[in-house]
Subunit: 320 residues, 6 copies
Amino acid sequence: MTMNRLPRIRDLQAGSAGYGFFLCAKKETRSGKNGEYLALVLQDVSGEVGAKVFQDVDALKQEFDAGEFVKVQGRGNSFNQRLELIVDKIRRVMPDKDAVDGFREEECIQCAPRPIGDMWAELTGRVDAITDPHIRALVDRLLVQHEERLRIWPAAKEVHHAYRGGLLEHILKISEIALYLADAYGAKRDVVFAGVLLHDIGKLRELTYDITTGYSVEGNLVGHIVIGVGLLRDAVRDLPGFPPDMLLELEHLILSHHGAREMGSPVLPMTMEAFILAASDDLDAKIHQVRRAFAEDDSDGAFTSYHKRLGRVLYKPSGS
Amino acid sequence: MTMNRLPRIRDLQAGSAGYGFFLCAKKETRSGKNGEYLALVLQDVSGEVGAKVFQDVDALKQEFDAGEFVKVQGRGNSFNQRLELIVDKIRRVMPDKDAVDGFREEECIQCAPRPIGDMWAELTGRVDAITDPHIRALVDRLLVQHEERLRIWPAAKEVHHAYRGGLLEHILKISEIALYLADAYGAKRDVVFAGVLLHDIGKLRELTYDITTGYSVEGNLVGHIVIGVGLLRDAVRDLPGFPPDMLLELEHLILSHHGAREMGSPVLPMTMEAFILAASDDLDAKIHQVRRAFAEDDSDGAFTSYHKRLGRVLYKPSGS
Amino acid sequence: MTMNRLPRIRDLQAGSAGYGFFLCAKKETRSGKNGEYLALVLQDVSGEVGAKVFQDVDALKQEFDAGEFVKVQGRGNSFNQRLELIVDKIRRVMPDKDAVDGFREEECIQCAPRPIGDMWAELTGRVDAITDPHIRALVDRLLVQHEERLRIWPAAKEVHHAYRGGLLEHILKISEIALYLADAYGAKRDVVFAGVLLHDIGKLRELTYDITTGYSVEGNLVGHIVIGVGLLRDAVRDLPGFPPDMLLELEHLILSHHGAREMGSPVLPMTMEAFILAASDDLDAKIHQVRRAFAEDDSDGAFTSYHKRLGRVLYKPSGS
Amino acid sequence: MTMNRLPRIRDLQAGSAGYGFFLCAKKETRSGKNGEYLALVLQDVSGEVGAKVFQDVDALKQEFDAGEFVKVQGRGNSFNQRLELIVDKIRRVMPDKDAVDGFREEECIQCAPRPIGDMWAELTGRVDAITDPHIRALVDRLLVQHEERLRIWPAAKEVHHAYRGGLLEHILKISEIALYLADAYGAKRDVVFAGVLLHDIGKLRELTYDITTGYSVEGNLVGHIVIGVGLLRDAVRDLPGFPPDMLLELEHLILSHHGAREMGSPVLPMTMEAFILAASDDLDAKIHQVRRAFAEDDSDGAFTSYHKRLGRVLYKPSGS
Amino acid sequence: MTMNRLPRIRDLQAGSAGYGFFLCAKKETRSGKNGEYLALVLQDVSGEVGAKVFQDVDALKQEFDAGEFVKVQGRGNSFNQRLELIVDKIRRVMPDKDAVDGFREEECIQCAPRPIGDMWAELTGRVDAITDPHIRALVDRLLVQHEERLRIWPAAKEVHHAYRGGLLEHILKISEIALYLADAYGAKRDVVFAGVLLHDIGKLRELTYDITTGYSVEGNLVGHIVIGVGLLRDAVRDLPGFPPDMLLELEHLILSHHGAREMGSPVLPMTMEAFILAASDDLDAKIHQVRRAFAEDDSDGAFTSYHKRLGRVLYKPSGS
Amino acid sequence: MTMNRLPRIRDLQAGSAGYGFFLCAKKETRSGKNGEYLALVLQDVSGEVGAKVFQDVDALKQEFDAGEFVKVQGRGNSFNQRLELIVDKIRRVMPDKDAVDGFREEECIQCAPRPIGDMWAELTGRVDAITDPHIRALVDRLLVQHEERLRIWPAAKEVHHAYRGGLLEHILKISEIALYLADAYGAKRDVVFAGVLLHDIGKLRELTYDITTGYSVEGNLVGHIVIGVGLLRDAVRDLPGFPPDMLLELEHLILSHHGAREMGSPVLPMTMEAFILAASDDLDAKIHQVRRAFAEDDSDGAFTSYHKRLGRVLYKPSGS
């Protein structure tokens, strides 16, 4: 193998050549001009890229699977205006051995841009600012119960914040916005903050996450909104004296945060705090999609290609 | 006072005169040709009727309120093709004293057509037919916890089965249908029956019911679908060994039973049992509205007047 | 040719080899690694499978067409987790000659699971139970006029019951359900049964069916709902004394059975019988799609893949 | 009684006084400052007006009914910016006797602005221009069968052309437009004309019309679109040799003329002729509503009051 | 007349008596038990109240009109749980004479809660913080051109901020929010601020405002969104060197600020700034409606009455 | 190269061979049985055709681009029932040299069927018929300002009239229809004609057109409706004395011509002229799509293939 290390995926170019470690996110057999080949999608912390394997295809069919880390030797290629990776050699990673050559599992996984430690520190800082003792007790309890997952969970399978730490990143961004709006409109800060923390907490059980993201049985049958209400009630059960009306207000925040029945909220926002939470969540999800569309777009014109979920093209900021 | 007893409201005629006991469901002050009068809505077990009080209006303003039982002396009158009751005397019921004259609280309240005891016996009979031990234990638990309300609760504030025992009547009718459909399509009988019992159980807390029906705070903020999931989880918590997947299936039945997100179901039916429950519930609610429209319609033509909720007129069966 | 007979399509495996008789439902020319090949879809009574022909492609282009029965020699192959048939030899069936080797036209066509004779017997049994003489005369007339097609017609081109005998199967299943519901709600049994028989009768002219299914000119321009009303009126024209109001009620059942204008019903259900028919039809069509999705799904997880028409994934019953 | 004759309703003023003949379209008993009074709606050929009777109310309750012609003595009055008629005397018309004083039934009924004889002559003139012999035979047959009703029927109960001769007026206006469009786009003139004549022909049985307009049983249960297809098929049955494909095209024109399923068309326009018919019908109905809104509006500003069915205000042409 | 001055409308009680100055916002003649009476709606800076005049009704019909300031002598009365004002004397205000008794036009008009001078100062402060010279020049120009109206205009006829200074109040509140969001997401501050100032600027011509609010001809025919684009282009025409792309971005902000085509935006947000503006505007309008519903609600329960525009009841904060 | 000239694309057959000049509208690299090949779409004035290049693929990748005129030597071929062109040689056109061999740029571009000179003459003829002096002055001004683009612009990128001169063709066809409708309903002819000319005038800046059609930045961010209002205001600015109300009416015509908010019109038609314009535009666009679907369809049956935008199949006129 060549001694060169390939650059990160975001920096890959047509001239790049060398070896690298990636997560193999998809693997398919296709027919091409020289017979069958493997069409892969490889990921690292910086993004993802299509790859093709034309050699030893039959042997490689069994050699590794989608969802595994792989060591790859290859070179960047430009095909129909898109960059791809032509793979010369590929095998499953051998963790101990490959660590010597620079394999780090966390560098092969798409991840929130801020370090998780930093984000967790910001979260606990915000918790310290809570003044209502019941909400403080509730939030403490939730963090104790769910810290492990809250630190790393993605916020979605595909739409937005769909990577390691994405849920925490989303919670923090909405916290910032929603607390500001709470002050601006005289809504209850602590209730809003608890709502932000709780609104997607059901995703800790709706989504499965172990390198790749999927839906659990409960996720499909029940959905994160109602799972979240259950997690809230479970936490409150351990908190004697928690005011029943406050519990209802918090359940209402979770249930109404999609803002409309056809978006999956069985009740509509009926409190100022609920209006603020729904607006903050919706805006953050949309802005995240807009930014990602800008980042992923490599066309020449002033507009991105058509964004199916948003139902429009987007105007690229000049200078970006 | 005349010694005659007025007939039940459904049998009231223009010539009827005498005294009777009713629930005063509404009370308003209006302006008429001879000054202010009171416009009432009176109910008994057989139906409801508009009533007017033209005498002693000022005094009577304070004498009784909507939501109270009243003793009324008056006579039937036909006004613009509608039967009404002209009230000569009216006062709040004095329970002990008036019992002698025939006051029975239960006869003043709109009620399901079948006696509640009969309906409850049918329900427990259906419970005895359950073969799955976990579902049997769950249903037994629910009946112990909620018997008092399950016996008498209405199924809605207005739309359908909106009277004493209406929820139980609705549960039994859907049981009959849904179990037949379960057999017809090879779905799981016991799961379907549990779903029928559970689907509206949240209404025990969504609605307040004490002679008149309203919405609780939890009813508005959370809604009966998610309240119901909570009641199910509470019951299961006391049942060690209840299979987790079965719990999810039952939660799914409750959550999906409105059949569409815009109807308030946060998830869509994904199991045969869920399709059967949603179809049975929808049909029973609609047929109930159709029958009530037939019963309440007193026009001459072949069609009822326009039914706002159903968005159509209805064709009256000949001979009915 | 090898002497082995291939198993039925549903039982085909990667190791299977031999000859078989099939209906060629689709035939396309594609480009592959060794030049052009033919991509086929083959059907028999048990299901359908993709097939590929790599040899003698140019000659075979003219040798047979989609819509014809073919004799095939080939072997099962697993490609990208899907089973396919690699065809070594293929030719048009010679009915007399191939009958010796086991060719039976009816075994090459997708068909309802119950034998058509059994289904027809059930239908005539249900007809014998009609008590209203006018409806009995009408139904007898319809069966005389349309028996040939009613026995074998599919219920749809694609959505549900899309195979030989599918319409009859659908009619019988709805009969069972709808008559039960009619009894449960005190609706008119004979009217409901006539509605069940009539509701899709227009499909006998909307669809063309001769091994494969398509739309007739009248089917596209007029649609089965209004064709059905015409067939009803034609039948009644031969029945002097048929009550005009009963005819209107039956027309209404056909016209309203899709339950909503946006589903193609020009009028909404206005009678109890119409509500029952629309609910039964809708449920049977959905359950059929659910079962077929279960049967066709071969993934590992607890859920089927996304079902476009139903707009959701489905939860696979454990043990199935 | 004064000898003066009241002017027509459109010309009634606050100072008008005298007697007149009207159709009593509505009659209700209401409570007012001096006891009960009768609130009427009176119509003549020029429009309609509200009227009040304060005298002899009890006696007059039985004296005449809505739907009857009445002789009225009264005077114009302005109440809350609206003109009304204060009735001093009123009785049922005695046709023979009142004819002497000028009672003419046709002058008491709202009617299309053009004389019916003129309109019918225009229609037969258009029929003479048909060149296709089959369509000519069909149209002749339809006119023979339905002339009596076609001459006088309204086009709707409320929305547009809701008066005597309204359907004929609507047919003629659309003929003019749709034939022009047929020439402009090279569509088949005779087919378009037949479609115009046929598109609402079902209204001859959907609506009942005998001074006042209502819905027949068939109108509600089947609707004018499908009734119309039946009338077409009935007419064609008497025309041997009528081309089957032409019949389908004409059925398609009737069925698709509302242009969208949610508007009640079970199929969408699929021919140029169908697009032209649907567009012409829609425009004529809308323009008729616009003009009527202008005619009925008596406000000062530049816009009419909010038009519920059109969902907007309308800008009044200056000078009108 | 009594010498007492009535309290402001918000503080009016059943026992209040005296004189006051109000804007008469509505005036209708109605029939009551003692003959005709006048039903008025009176407003002052603190709110509005229903009023009734039973004396000298005929004379008063001409004495003043809706839209005029009136001097009223009367007393608070509670009728059917609502407070009303029984008027003993009423006449048009004589400005000079009544000024002596305390008449101040501005105290009779509903007005934003903050003094307009304060709000204007905040606005000019925000303008001073603009750093982009083109946007600064544009904003300066707009303020010079429109200061007179911008200071006092309402933001709507009915929905939200529908009072003197309401538009300015709305602009300032969105400024605060949207600039915070711009910073949070790295959007362009100055562009966002210009968008906030411009988004409803068309309302200066869409609405007429002279004590009462209405729609101009241009307002109905063109609408404030497109009027606003015109005002922007007019302002830029005087600013040589204004970057064309920046003009397009600002036009886009105005055009897309309703966020969806069915809400009247001909284009959808395509820039981060546009997403932020649309979200801020929507939230501020909703919160304003929520607060007003809280302020106006005087029922006993935990929920307001049904809010038609928002399509829900609202949960009243405890303690408010 | 062979001396034969290929026929126009519409007349190309499987046997055709020779050279020709085309616009290369698309160019992609694909993998085929003999390695990579180029898949092209070629256009001339009569239509477009798919083409494949199997020789010298690597060299040709750089030799020409989509959007350029090319000289092609090749032969017609029938592949899977579709005609395609197999290219033997291909190169960029050399305008001067190839003119000798018959290259005419205008013959390589899809174009309206009528010569542009004829259409322009018809337009100026219609202008001469204007009687209102203000509208005449406005239209003259618009023609002076925009003649160059108005003569050649397409009416859309894809949907309808998407070729050279398409906008002019569309304007003329609507003029014919809308003026007829104006007379039929007594609407203002000159206003209608101005509306027709103006309704899509914003497309002159919304679309970029230089052989191929695209969207400008302004087109995406602002849209042709609001661009059109700006062009109208610009023109009127030069016309002193233009009546302000007439300007508003014309702006309203542009803004409302899509007929519904969800179609991008920020206001709904409120004048008769606006109803007529919207109906004419909608019908012309639909008929154009219908005709094109007929022209492009080459299937055997009575119906075209499914038309996605219209959401239906279309019935092909017999004989066409």
